[in-house]
């Protein structure tokens, strides 16, 4: 609401009437459209009981959807942790003072941001085995692909985040005698992680969604198990896809809501880093962003 008041005045009586009329007209339009879609689906027999009945059977859930969901979450969780690590390492690399760190780090990040994930997963699965002379499982193909791509995006986000920390913060840290690495670890990265939280989480949502590309290497994730395989058994592909979509939407919305909550909380408390009651022990080796952000996936 506070964002909207930037643009327009507090509505007067006429404006309120106009807004209400618009609300009703548009609302009716949307409902009519939904009804039309519903009845067309009905006419096509998409609501027939035989298509939906499988979802009332426990086996559908325990054997298809839940294992698929578990595989999705597993790949996403591992991918998230690795991308955060990758992101922080390469962000710091790109901010290095040494060109021989900065340039290669930049090249890696730019390359992986530009290559479609589909190609990457494909390559890791079919190409890398030739390089390492050994098989790569579908799980790792998906996770490595996700990590390289999302890690690169996060690296850029972190870099922007670190640069968006007001200069005064690092100056104040230098002024009390901190070294560069201390400033990075104690001041810049924690604050960047806070500031970038919304971007980080939306990237994590992207990552979770992208696990769906695992179908290309037959990784048994939600789309593969809950839609393709389930439909092969029950022939209800559209219904199965609707259920899968609903699951994705719910999980991702929860993730987004969690991010919003964390963000609001840190805003109202200044810029608080959770779980930081021990200033002495904080952030010695593990970057704090990693632990806090990926928590919900566990």
């Amino acid at each position: 609401m506070s964002t909207s008041s930037v643009l327009y005045d507090h509505p007067g009586p006429r404006a309120r009437i106009r807004n209400n009329v618009l609300s009703v007209v548009f609302g009716v339009g949307v409902v009519a459209l939904l009804w039309w879609v519903y009845s067309k689906f009905d006419a096509a027999g998409q609501w027939e009981a035989v298509l939906w009945k499988p979802f009332t059977e426990p086996a559908t859930w325990t054997q298809f959807i839940l294992p698929g969901l578990w595989a999705t979450l597993k790949a996403a969780a591992v991918g998230m942790v690795l991308s955060l690590v990758f992101g922080i390492v390469f962000a710091v690399g790109r901010l290095s003072d040494h060109w021989w760190i900065k340039v290669p780090a930049g090249a890696v990040v730019e390359f992986f941001r530009a290559v479609p994930l589909l190609l990457m997963i494909f390559f890791v699965f079919y190409g890398v085995p030739f390089l390492i002379q050994g098989p790569v499982s579908a799980f790792w193909a998906v996770v490595v692909g996700l990590t390289l791509y999302n890690g690169s995006v996060l690296a850029e986000a972190f870099r922007a985040g670190i640069r968006s920390v007001p200069g005064g913060q690092s100056e104040a840290a230098y002024a009390i005698g901190m070294r560069k690495s201390q400033v990075m670890q104690l001041i810049l990265i924690p604050q960047a992680a806070r500031a970038m939280l919304p971007i980080i989480v939306s990237q994590l949502v992207v990552l979770l969604k992208d696990t769906a590309l695992g179908y290309i290497v037959a990784y048994p994730e939600l789309l593969q198990r809950g839609v393709n395989d389930l439909a092969a058994n029950k022939g209800n592909i559209v219904a199965a896809a609707m259920v899968a979509a609903a699951i994705y939407i719910v999980i991702n919305s929860l993730l987004t809501a969690l991010a919003g909550w964390l963000d609001r909380r840190s805003r109202t408390r200044g810029l608080r880093v959770p779980r930081q009651t021990r200033p002495a022990a904080a952030a010695d080796s593990t970057p704090e962003g990693g632990a806090t952000v990926s928590e919900p996936q566990g």
Binding site: T3, S4, V6, L7, Y8, D9, P11, A15, N19, L22, S23, V24, F26, G27, V30, V37, K40, F41, A44, Q46, E110, F111, R113, A114, V115, P116, L117, L118, L119, M120, F122, F123, Y126, G127, F130, L131, S202, V205, K209, D210, A212, L213, Y215, I216, L223, V227, I237, V238, A241, A244, A245, Y248, I249, I251, N252, S253, T256
Partner: protein
């Protein structure tokens, strides 16, 4: 490189990227239009419009694009009977464009909305204090300044769109990822060169695009 010396393969490679470019081009236009409309709804004073915009963004941002494209095919085309072209490839192309557009529009909407939010409140207040109407404030003061801060996110969205176009391969369009898949299958001995050619083409297309948008954003940035 013997793989691409074969004219059939080379043609497949070219037509794969041609599909990608066509998908990107058409979807970019539609996504921009829809996204700006959605953003207008999201910042409007009408709750239902705001709700609609928010619902759109939440649904499409949270669903895998693969599923969105899938619904375009099986929902719009197969169930609702929306046929866009007699030719199968062309039909799939347009269904892909619809999927990419509605999906990308959600991201465009958010970019525009946050662009509007980067314009300091004071700018709109000063405009209103002068007696400018809502439309004038938007047109003369807010949008010109928002546009400039939206350029960089638009660049990232365009790049993502181009890469996402490969997902239209799931409904059978022979775009570059499908072509690469076929070539890899047929040429198990040349896996790495094939990947490097395809990935390299994307990099050659998209890295300069990224730099171009960065440059443009810098040039247009409002000095405060």
């Amino acid at each position: 490189m013997h793989v691409f010396a074969d004219p059939t393969n080379f043609d497949a490679y070219l037509s794969g990227f041609l599909w990608i470019l066509k998908l990107t081009g058409a979807s970019a236009v539609f996504a921009l239009v829809i996204g700006v409309l959605l953003a207008a709804m999201r910042v409007s004073p009408v709750p239902v419009l705001r709700g609609f915009g928010a619902a759109w963004v939440n649904i499409f941002r949270n669903t895998p694009l693969t599923l969105v494209v899938f619904f375009c095919y099986f929902g719009l085309f197969s169930t609702l009977g929306l046929s866009l072209a007699e030719d199968l490839n062309l039909n799939n192309y347009w269904l892909g464009v619809i999927g990419l557009s509605v999906y990308t529009a959600a991201f465009v909407c958010e970019a525009v909305r946050s662009g509007v939010n980067t314009v300091p409140t004071g700018q709109a207040e000063a405009a209103r204090a002068l007696g400018l109407t809502f439309a004038q404030t938007l047109r003369i003061v807010v949008l010109p300044q928002a546009t400039r801060s939206v350029v960089a996110p638009f660049g990232s969205i365009l790049i993502a769109l181009c890469k996402n176009a490969t997902i239209v391969g799931t409904i059978g369009l022979m775009e570059s990822s499908n072509v690469m898949k076929d070539l890899l299958n047929a040429n198990g001995d040349a896996v790495i060169p094939i990947f490097l050619v395809f990935a390299g083409t994307f990099a050659a297309l998209l890295i300069p695009t990224g730099y171009f948008f960065g440059w443009l954003a810098n040039r247009l940035a409002v000095k405060r």
